[in-house]
């Protein structure tokens, strides 16, 4: 039977302990948690961003309610434990709940210290410890007014910055001559003070608070020297005191905190203490790294592994105030056997100081530019002998010889717990571990197994470097990336072979090219379907089951399974009649949200799938066709009003935009295509970040292409200048056809261009009229089959199975 594990407190340390315990011994304990706070486990380190308004509470939750349910944990919220009975092995809460334990963990944390000056009980005097404090501060800050923060340490300064961002006039009072004196030397303390003052926070150092004044609520603070500072809010952030009351009453050994051994056991071996309330090696800790180490040791011990011991280690601190870059680690007192290396750049506001002893870093303070902090900290923790790089050490990692300039070395130097994939929260060791234990050799495999770089993809480069590092020479990034796990062939080979072998159906491709899976997968099937649609217009029958849902039902699926509908609005131009028709549809179908898109169209969101054909029927009657806002195909051609109205317009940009859109709508492309036409170089339709853009000038039309304004931001490349509208259309159509025929599925024009080269595209489209005409003609041929309004097709009954349930069961009758 599972043993009973009771935990008092639900902060970050016990949360981490449970995560570790569930990794090694998931079934060993029945876990019950008593939490005096009414919440789940959240990241206290991130309270400052909540105070400043940069994050919401939901964003800092570590374990939501679901996590406790999933692990079968009994969590009592707002249950303060009032007694531990060590003989009976029970704990009792203030509401009379009694729980038995085989093992008990005390993780009661700490209390903020309140300086007992007169007036400290007044309303409006707060500490900075938990979410309630933050809420109270935010509430007071709404009335603007003055805030005084007593304490110029890490927490106090973060509180001050947060309150200032909430709109208060803030004064910081600090007893010592320089700010954050435990983490900073006096020079950095001075720079910090100046930076805070620059942003409008008043800082008084050497300030000894005599009393807090006010009748019923706080009105101000009086210092020893008689200075009075007005205040609507006073925040005390002068330190914390371990919460030991409960342990003390239970007769456990107490010093400053609850005394524990190296394995986190108190003087009663069945009882452990963790986190800020615990004291080991004569020290109580308040920073997260040692607390997480305690959690790991306790989890190991609870799971039966007695080999792990808590070893006191150096800690590093970073001030979490937006715009101030500050990092400190280790010990920076001066001493006879110590040397220092200092870099100052007053105008850039940079100050860096390293403290050395026996050619090893023992302390580091970085101000203004702290990116190298973790690297220095690694050298410090590892006791690395720095004699060889002493001359350039202070300039940071990038300056350490030829090798380290290489980005690979920077990746190699990242600590195991460094987060690589922010979207999925995947750290370095998880990726390298998966590569070695599962024998992964490609980016796709890493994505499939760990999810790293599988979401937004911005960390793809880092993941590839980790592959290269872990696999050494055996990793060959130049090797052709297979389309997916179903084949060894890359996209380019598949496209070439479809043409060469005249493969005209998906089963034919899979058979002839020796697909490894029976029916392909969700990656290769949409790609193959596109290649066949593009290469065999009029011959290939589009396989709807290989299309992503949006292209199958011609609407955009939303997070709740409803759809959004965007009719085409040629060149962004509309009329009273069209708007009235849309308004009628919105009313009739009670469409919850109507929004104007970035492409000058109207989006109707929240439509049930069953209603789509009826919505389209009504829109169709008013003359609307599908806007293909869901398609890997031509989306919008954005325009400005051009010579029709604009006093700067040089050409009829609206007319050209409409002409392009009417010519090209319905065409399928490897990825979406968005265009724009601007009537003059002022470029009001933002043509220079589109897939294809036209800038009208007096002498004609400048054609631009390969811009991006999404995951990547990139201005367009200049394709060339043409004199007439007809030429502009022919060049644009030819360019898009070239892209249709050559690009890989889901590859936007700018990515394809960077692969093929701007010059090659210019050569084929601008300099080779024959080639251009051939591209143009193939596009025109393909459009004969593509320009069918999918909405009216479905209104007339095509694919009606898509929109109706197969059966509706009346459950009452099933008795």
């Amino acid at each position: 039977m599972a043993e009973k594990l009771v935990i008092i407190g639900n902060g970050m340390a016990p949360g981490r302990m449970l995560e570790r315990l569930y990794e090694t011994a998931p079934d060993k304990y029945d876990v019950t948690i008593f939490n005096a706070e009414s919440r789940v486990n959240y990241d206290r380190i991130l309270l400052s961003p909540v105070l400043s308004g940069e994050k919401s509470f939901e964003e800092i939750i570590i374990h939501g309610d679901g996590w406790y349910i999933e692990h079968g944990i009994t969590l009592y919220k707002s249950h303060k434990i009032t007694e531990i009975n060590r003989e009976a092995r029970t704990v009792t809460s203030e509401h009379g709940e009694v729980a038995e334990y085989d093992r008990l963990i005390i993780a009661t944390g700490s209390q903020p210290i309140v300086i007992p000056v007169p007036g400290h009980n007044l309303a409006g005097v707060l500490t900075y410890r938990d979410l309630d404090d933050v809420h109270a501060m935010i509430l007071t800050a709404k009335g603007r007014g003055h805030a005084v923060v007593i304490g110029g340490g890490l927490l106090g300064l973060e509180a001050a910055a947060g309150l200032q961002m909430q709109g208060m006039q803030v004064t910081v009072l600090h007893l010592m001559p320089t700010l954050m004196e435990r983490q900073l030397d006096s020079s950095a303390g001075y720079l910090l003070k100046r930076a805070l003052e620059d942003r409008g926070i008043r800082v008084i150092t050497g300030a000894n608070t005599k009393e807090i004044i006010g009748e019923k609520k706080v009105e101000g603070v009086r210092l020893e020297d008689g200075t009075e500072i007005p205040a609507d809010l006073v925040v005390m952030a002068v330190g914390i005191r371990p919460n030991t009351q409960l342990a003390k009453e239970a007769g456990l050994e107490i010093n400053r905190g609850i005394v524990v051994n190296d394995q986190m056991q108190t003087s009663d071996e069945r009882i452990y203490a963790l986190g800020e309330c615990a004291e080991t090696h004569g020290t109580c800790y308040g920073l997260v790294a040692p607390l997480y180490q305690m959690a790991g040791v306790a989890a190991a011990h609870l799971s039966g592994d007695e080999s792990q011991h808590f070893t006191p280690s150096q800690t590093a601190t970073r001030l979490k105030v937006t715009g101030i870059d500050l990092y400190s680690a280790g010990d920076f007192a001066e001493g006879e056997d110590r040397e220092e290396i200092v870099l100052r750049d007053a105008s850039a506001g940079v100050y860096k100081r390293l403290i050395l002893q026996d050619n090893r870093i023992v302390g580091a303070v970085l101000y203004g530019e702290a990116a190298d902090g973790p690297w220095f900290f690694d050298l410090l923790k590892n006791g690395t002998d720095i004699s060889d790089m002493r001359e350039t050490l202070i300039f940071g990692q990038a300056y350490q010889g030829g090798a380290s300039l290489d980005p690979m070395a920077a990746v190699a130097a990242l600590p195991d717990e460094a987060e690589i994939c922010g979207c999925n929260g995947i750290c370095k060791s998880k990726i390298t571990g998966a590569i070695t234990t599962l024998g992964l050799t490609s980016l796709d495999e890493v994505r499939a197994q760990t999810k790293a770089s599988a979401s937004c993809g911005s960390c793809t480069g880092l993941v590839e470097q980790l592959l290269a590092l872990t696999l050494g020479d055996t990793y060959n990034p130049a090797a052709v990336q297979p389309m997916c796990g179903c084949t060894e062939l890359g996209h380019d080979d598949v496209r070439r072979l479809i043409k060469a072998k005249e493969l005209k159906t998906i089963p034919a491709v899979m058979q002839e090219l020796q697909w490894k899976s029976s029916g392909g997968c969700a990656k290769c099937r949409p790609a193959l379907n596109y290649y066949l649609v593009c290469d065999w217009p009029g011959e290939y029958a589009d396989d709807y089951q290989s299309r992503f849902i949006n292209e199958r039902v011609h609407a955009n699926i939303q997070k709740d399974g409803t759809y959004s509908v965007v009719p085409r609005r040629w060149g962004g131009v509309t009329s009273a009649k069209e708007l009235r028709a849309i308004a009628d549809v919105v009313d009739k179908f009670k469409i919850p949200t109507v929004k104007v898109t970035g492409g000058q169209r109207i989006d109707m969101l929240g439509i049930a799938k069953e209603d789509l054909p009826a919505v389209w029927a009504d829109l169709g009657q008013a003359g609307f066709v599908s806007g293909q806002a869901y398609a890997k195909g031509l989306r919008t051609v954005k325009t400005c009003v051009g010579t029709d109205w604009c006093r700067f317009g040089t050409q009829d940009s609206t007319g050209l935009g409409i002409r392009i859109e009417k010519f090209m709508w319905g065409s399928w492309t490897p990825a979406k295509v968005k265009m724009a036409v601007s009537g003059c170089p002022r470029n009001c339709s933002e043509a220079t970040c589109k897939d294809v853009g036209v800038i009208c000038v007096d002498s004609g039309f400048d054609i631009q292409f390969a811009g991006a304004a999404g995951l990547d931001i990139k201005g367009t490349e200049f394709l060339g200048h043409v004199d007439t509208e007809d030429e502009a259309l022919e060049h644009i159509v030819a360019l898009v056809q070239m892209y249709r025929e050559q690009a890989r599925y889901l590859e936007r024009i700018y990515k394809w261009t960077s692969r093929i080269g701007v010059d090659e595209i210019r050569r084929q489209i601008m300099d080779d009229p024959e080639k251009r005409r051939a591209y143009y003609d193939r596009f025109v041929h393909s459009q004969k089959f593509a320009q069918v309004d999918p909405w009216s097709e479905r209104v007339s009954g095509k694919d009606k199975h898509e929109f109706k349930p197969m059966a509706t069961l009346t459950l009452e009758a099933a008795q």
């Binding site: 197994q449 029916g519 997968c521 089951q545 849902i549 399974g561 197969m806 059966a807 509706t808």
Partner: protein, 120 residues
């Protein structure tokens, strides 16, 4: 079609439709009270029933791409085994599956399991 289950002779098995109602490598939905159940047909004409709710963010699995005996959720590309209901690869989660019975073209679903669907 609307089915009043008491009219079906098979005591526990309810007729929900025929094989040809579902496109190959496609799905149809069956509404059962609060719940929606997705009925899938694979390329080799096997049929499966799972709750139409991805274990990740409740995406409608019936709208996904069917490949082999798996479906890829249309919202965030989780791949779910139609046979076991389990998420494949690095994802973890399970969607509820329902037993189906084939009699020639006709597809039946177990009424007792439908009754408890959607009661979570």
């Amino acid at each position: 079609m609307n089915v009043a289950t008491s009219n079906v002779a098979t005591s526990n098995w309810v007729l929900i439709g025929t094989l040809s109602d579902i496109p190959r490598q496609g799905a149809r939905r069956v509404k059962a009270g609060q719940a929606t159940i997705a009925i899938f047909r694979t390329d080799d004409d096997r049929v499966f029933a799972v709750e139409d709710k991805c274990p990740h963010k409740e995406g409608p699995l019936s709208q996904g791409i069917v490949h082999g005996d798996c479906v890829t959720c249309p919202l965030h590309n989780w791949v779910i085994s139609l046979e076991t209901g389990k998420a494949q690869g690095a994802d973890e989660g399970t969607v509820r599956t329902f037993a189906l019975k084939r009699d020639g073209e006709s597809i039946f679903m177990d009424a007792s399991s439908i009754r408890t669907a959607g009661e979570d």
